[in-house]
């Protein structure tokens, strides 16, 4: 973590979606605790990876940061300015600095607009007139993301998935943002194209010095991209650390389980044994008491059920490496795979 003031400071961020039910009068009968008390920072030009299984609240977090959703609780500060409940007018000056890249390149581009309109839209909305005109800027942006600048008057349906995602990147760059939230930007793409788009984002991040919140559902992609990585489970951060700390010294059982699924990683030089987690992710409407991971953790005890482990720098962690677990893993701890070995991984 950088010593200077962070670009983005999130504390206690919470989003509960009301669950409506009942007949004939619909009323709130519960809440999906999609995001429940997140704390993290993103420094200037830094890339934070946000990793977790499907449904753990990653997209919700991204939409809260970009203020597409209204937080239920907590605080979002951008450059020291509280934007937690800022309205459209208050957000206007910041809008150009926080942008988003979406997961589905087919849904994220308006099929009725040309690429030129899509990419220049943000400039139009914010009344930005770059030197040389918007069209020149659009061409320049298309060039940056590796598209033919002459294609600006084509429609999205004339492009492949990877190319569309590049258009999405160009749109996000149009306003010279300081922070981009990328919500699984490559998971909808062919594996062969994923690397190209990740490389593009990496180039953008390094050359333009843009900070990223990079959302992904496995640790493999994030590894090449993010300086810091946060692992989420059921709306909470389980572990957050600098990349090398997290990959070389995972302290949370869940991180370890996720890492064991990443092909090229060998944890603590022990030959990789795939940890197959038992059971399903519990419902976020009624999450487990205490540690949310306890229903699938092979080390769970009564304490895990009664007491939620705080996200802290547990003993043996480097500074800035926070883990939320009562019984953190150590280099020589016997991992669960002994109990639930994946026969295919061993073979």
């Amino acid at each position: 973590m950088s010593n200077a003031k962070p670009l983005l400071n999130v504390s206690g961020l919470t989003k509960h979606f009301p669950v409506k039910g009942g007949f004939p009068i619909r009323r709130t009968v519960g809440a999906v605790q999609a995001v429940d008390g997140l704390d993290f920072q993103v420094g200037e030009g830094e890339s934070l990876g946000l990793v977790g299984e499907s449904g753990c609240g990653k997209s919700t977090t991204g939409r809260l940061i970009t203020r597409l959703l209204e937080p239920t609780g907590g605080k979002i500060e951008y450059r020291g300015q509280d934007i937690t409940h800022a309205g459209r007018a208050q957000l206007a000056p910041i809008r150009s600095e926080i942008q988003m890249i979406f997961q589905d390149p087919y849904a994220s581009l308006n099929p009725r607009q040309t690429v030129g309109k899509i990419v220049s839209g943000p400039m139009e909305i914010n009344d930005i007139n770059p030197a040389g005109g918007r069209e020149a800027r659009v061409r320049e942006l298309l060039e940056i993301v590796g598209l033919n600048p002459e294609h600006f008057n084509r429609f999205p349906h004339e492009f492949s998935g990877g190319q569309r995602q590049r258009i999405g990147v160009a749109r996000a760059l149009a306003l010279n943002p300081k922070l981009i939230v990328a919500d699984e930007p490559v998971s909808a793409l062919d594996v062969s194209i994923q690397a190209q788009v990740v490389n593009l984002l990496q180039k953008v991040q390094q050359e333009l010095g843009i900070a990223f919140v990079f959302i992904a559902h496995d640790l493999a992609i994030v590894r090449h991209f993010s300086q810091r990585v946060a692992v989420m489970y059921l709306g909470k951060i389980m572990e957050i650390a600098d990349r090398d700390d997290l990959y070389n010294n995972p302290r949370h059982p869940y991180t370890r389980a996720l890492l064991s699924a990443v092909p090229e990683v060998t944890v603590d030089d022990i030959p990789r044994e795939r940890i197959r987690l038992q059971g399903d992710v519990p419902s976020p409407i009624n999450p487990p008491s205490g540690c949310r991971f306890r229903t699938r953790c092979w080390k769970a005890t009564d304490k895990c059920a009664s007491e939620a482990p705080p996200l802290v720098e547990v003993e043996g962690n480097k500074p800035g490496h926070l883990t939320a677990c009562h019984y953190p893993e150590t280099a020589d701890s016997v991992p669960a795979p002994r109990l639930s070995k994946d026969p295919q991984a061993a073979a």
């Binding site: 849904a107 084509r154 004339e158």
Partner: protein, 342 residues
């Protein structure tokens, strides 16, 4: 009076067969863009039925618009009772004296029984009146339906719930019965009992009432479409860049709703034409002496045993128009929305 309930949600994706075959736009065939609209136009032009129907429909509209001009060149008008100056035109039973309803080089489509008006100009003006009312009703219905549907879908929540219930009620209303029963009541509100109801009042009342019952189906369709669209990521992308709700509705949503709106209104217009004629026939819409398709058919029905020709012209022309317009509507739908092709 309620236009046909729309087919289920119309997809918004743009389909381009040629792209699907060769998914590599990096090999450009020139720089011309294949906009969704142009693709639909290309598909439409390949559809023979659609093109022929379009010509027929255009022909009717040209006639309607140019009716006064044609009548002037032709030298007659729809109101003069030519038989009163020239009683030889009608026989002793007040039916046209000549064969085929009195068709001649002077009276192209013959002469009306009893009053002896000119059928040709009467039909021209009848088409003009009927199409005018139907077009006005279609436009009003579409505008009201789009505004209400998009608002409900975009705002969601309580507004949406309330609008949804109103739509249910309107759609379950027996609108034809309502028309027959209440048109006289409405006229009564504005006009003293023994005064004549002015034509403009009849037309306006009909247009407003048809729109009042017609908006619900298009509103319901659009509401559903907007509910789906506003969750789309491109709408979120616009919000992230700070787009106002106005801009989102007009620049992001409405262009994607053009297809269902066009399809719905092309289905609606012929329905309104027949509805308007039906009301006139029943005596609650336009009435004689206003030239109107329904009025003509109603009068024709009184004489058809003796003078079939008089019934034939309005009847046939209306069947041709409604058929052509419905075929056109089908072709437009297929062109805009190729997935729905059976």
């Amino acid at each position: 009076m309620t236009p046909p309930t729309p087919s289920a949600a119309t997809p918004l994706e743009v389909i381009d067969e040629s792209v699907e075959k060769s998914p590599s736009p990096s090999t450009p065939k020139g720089n011309e863009s294949r906009s969704p609209g142009r693709l639909a136009w290309k598909r439409f032009r390949r559809d023979r039925t659609g093109v022929i129907s379009a010509y027929i429909v255009i022909f009717f509209f040209v006639i309607a618009i140019a009716a006064p001009l044609i009548a002037k060149l032709y030298g007659k008008d729809p109101y003069t009772t030519y038989a009163s100056q020239r009683p030889e035109l009608l026989n002793a039973f007040s039916y046209p004296a000549g064969p085929n309803g009195g068709m001649s080089s002077e009276f192209w489509f013959g002469i009306e029984p009893q009053l002896g008006r000119d059928v040709f100009t009467f039909l021209l003006y009848a088409i003009r009146t009927s199409l005018g009312i139907a077009v006005a009703a279609t436009i009003l219905t579409t505008v009201v339906g789009v505004v209400i549907g998009v608002t409900a879908g975009y705002l969601g929540g309580r507004t949406d719930y309330l609008v949804g219930r109103i739509i249910d009620i309107v759609l379950s209303f027996p609108s034809t019965l309502f028309f027959i029963a209440f048109m006289p009541v409405i006229y009564g509100i504005f006009v003293a009992a023994d005064d004549d109801v002015p034509t403009w009042l009849r037309a306006t009342a009909m247009i407003i009432l048809m729109a009042a019952f017609g908006w619900a189906s298009i509103a319901r369709l659009l509401r559903g479409q907007v509910l789906g669209l506003r969750e789309r990521e491109f709408v979120e992308a616009a919000k992230v860049t700070g787009a106002s709700p106005m801009r989102i509705v007009f620049k992001e949503l409405l262009p994607n709703l053009a297809t269902p709106i066009i399809i719905q209104s092309t289905l609606m217009l012929p329905a309104f034409v027949t509805a308007e004629a039906g009301l006139a026939f029943l005596g609650v819409g336009m009435i004689d002496p206003t030239p109107d398709w329904g009025v003509m058919i109603q009068r024709g029905a009184q004489f058809y045993t003796e003078d079939l020709t008089f019934m034939l012209f309005p009847g046939l022309s209306m069947v041709i128009f409604v058929l052509a317009f419905n075929l056109l509507g089908d072709s437009v739908r297929d062109a805009l929305d190729p997935k729905s092709k059976r």
